[in-house]
Symmetry: C2
Subunit: 342 residues, 2 copies
């Protein structure tokens, strides 16, 4: 865990878009002090007007920010993780100022020749959050005794990370010694008890790296909430999903789900199978390794009215006899009950 810092979030054009989920996650959940957000699209506004959280001014570029800061945090994760070239000037300025640049992009900024040279000269630091750890290993089954809860999902970007964080916060409020394991860049940036960007880890080691985190955190925590990735039905990311399901050895599973989403996000030719399919698949695949059961549904109600949400929650609870909750608005109280009681 890095110490608390004053940070600036770089989020050109994406603050309200799908690919700005890292920026929003850090905005809502991080304990860092946020000095400003750089987004040319919403420059001049305050983030509280758009996102209804803390007050943070939005600037057109980094050079407009006069207040001192410690780190520039890149708050976007585009498909494939490539860096849009129009961000280069802001990143260069932060490096010229000798700051820390925190990036979750697939392209490692520390391997960019221009960035590397500036950092060498000014003493700036580049932290590529996606860089896999050293000494990775194949899973050996030794993590299977940990008390873990996996937050899985029916697609990308349906609230898995937020649900895992909310469950951890709620458990701590009740005096439970709970831990959070991040498997994506946003969770690591917000702050986790352990975190590796699993989709960047070579296939053979994905489950083993997850298992290593579970073993490490379970020495200190009585229950661990693990952020899942992707979906078992996703044409591109399902391998990462299954590796985390097996490598985290969950005893309980929460499924995050957006009822309004018909196709996988960005994959208009691939329909998302029904929630029922996902409940069955997660349980059947867990069966052979950890025997975890689905105990609740976290609903991503971004595009639902309050009435729709209430109706949908009732439907789910009747069909599957599982509690369903809009965690983003109502917190994880009811889902935590399900985790502890089922």
């Amino acid at each position: 865990m890095p110490p608390l810092m004053k940070i600036v979030i770089l989020a050109h054009d994406v603050l309200l878009e799908h690919y700005g989920k890292t920026a929003r996650g850090v905005y809502y959940y991080s304990s860092h002090e946020i000095i400003g957000i750089v987004d040319r699209k919403h420059a001049g506004m305050d983030a509280s007007q758009l996102l209804h959280g803390r007050n943070v001014k939005i600037y057109h570029s980094l050079k407009e920010i006069k207040e001192d800061y410690d780190a520039l945090l890149i708050g976007s994760s585009p498909i494939g993780g490539k860096m849009p070239e129009e961000w280069r000037d802001d990143i260069k300025l932060a490096l010229l100022q000798g700051k820390i640049v925190i990036s979750g992009l697939h392209d490692f900024l520390s391997e960019d020749e221009e960035f590397r040279k500036i950092a060498e000269r000014t003493g700036a630091k580049i932290w590529d959050v996606r860089k896999p750890p050293e000494n990775m290993r194949v899973a050996d089954g030794s993590g299977r005794f940990a008390n873990t809860v996996l937050v899985a999902g029916t697609d990308c970007a349906v609230g898995k990370m937020i649900t895992a964080i909310q469950l951890t916060i709620e458990a701590k409020k009740r005096g439970i010694n709970a831990g959070f394991i991040a498997t994506g860049q946003t969770g690591i940036m917000i702050g986790a008890d352990a975190g590796v960007v699993i989709d960047r880890v070579p296939g053979d080691f994905m489950a083993g790296v997850t298992e290593d985190m579970v073993k490490k955190v379970s020495k200190e925590k009585e229950i661990i909430f693990v952020e899942g990735q992707g979906s078992l039905s996703h044409p591109a990311y399902s391998g990462v999903t299954l590796a985390i399901l097996h490598g985290s050895y969950p005893k309980k599973i929460i499924i995050a789900h957006d009822p309004k989403r018909v196709h996988h996000f960005g994959y208009q030719d691939f329909k998302i199978p029904p929630l029922k399919w996902h409940i069955e698949m997660y349980e059947k695949l867990a069966e052979s390794v950890s025997g975890g059961k689905v105990v609740g549904i976290a609903i991503d109600g971004e595009n639902m009215s309050d009435d729709e949400m209430e109706k949908y929650k009732d439907e789910i609870e009747n069909e599957f006899n599982l509690p369903a909750e809009d965690v983003f608005h109502n917190g994880a109280n009811r889902l935590l009950n399900a985790v502890l009681e089922r």
Copy 2:
């Protein structure tokens, strides 16, 4: 495809063991000329006495081989892929002689300081088969029109690669323009129309790299047989398995299975679920992406008597109405019929 070479296979201690499957695969199926096998355990014998294939002398060390050769091929793939230190002398000698060293180990020999320096001096070449390709990408669904058959399995080392090769050979015999895609080091070493060691590819790109191969080969071939990896129930490798299932977009699936194996190989705490479970899981998970169906079972009968094999084949055919075949001994004729007719 490399040109045909004279090769020496390095396989100390493992020639008849599980971890010698690369050595045996190359011995049985490669079109390279095999000058000798280095295995201190069986030195002095001929491979034909042990493996019942072509005549190849077995030596105690590389320095005993006086005949000229082009390449030393490392014929083992231990768990995690680390190189046993006792192989160092043989590899050094090949590099000192200016030969090609072909390796499928996780540890890249080209990054070993001592090996690298010798190769620089002598002009020897190190080919690390597991090195991922450059310009990898996330799957986008564009490979879904290819006519692919995936050979999946219930565990590691149950004959997936051999079955895919036998199906390709049998199809070519019938005048069908068939291709073979390798996803592991042995298949690549034997020779494939395209090949990447998928378990070495970062999680996000596993399906995309598979899709790229499928698209490339399908431009030239009317049917493609894809080597699967691991098993959906495997605690360490299931993520790789599912990424290949989705990234290869199979229309038909063959499942390779060893009926005598109770636990996952090397994982005595993890029982392999029944064949029925695997048939259902492969089909249900394929459903959301390519809709592939299981059309036959390839039985690994290594530890079965002829009577047991016949009885088991009948059982499978009755229970699932699927043809079952001992491909290793009987070829892939019946399974190819199933692929073409079902």
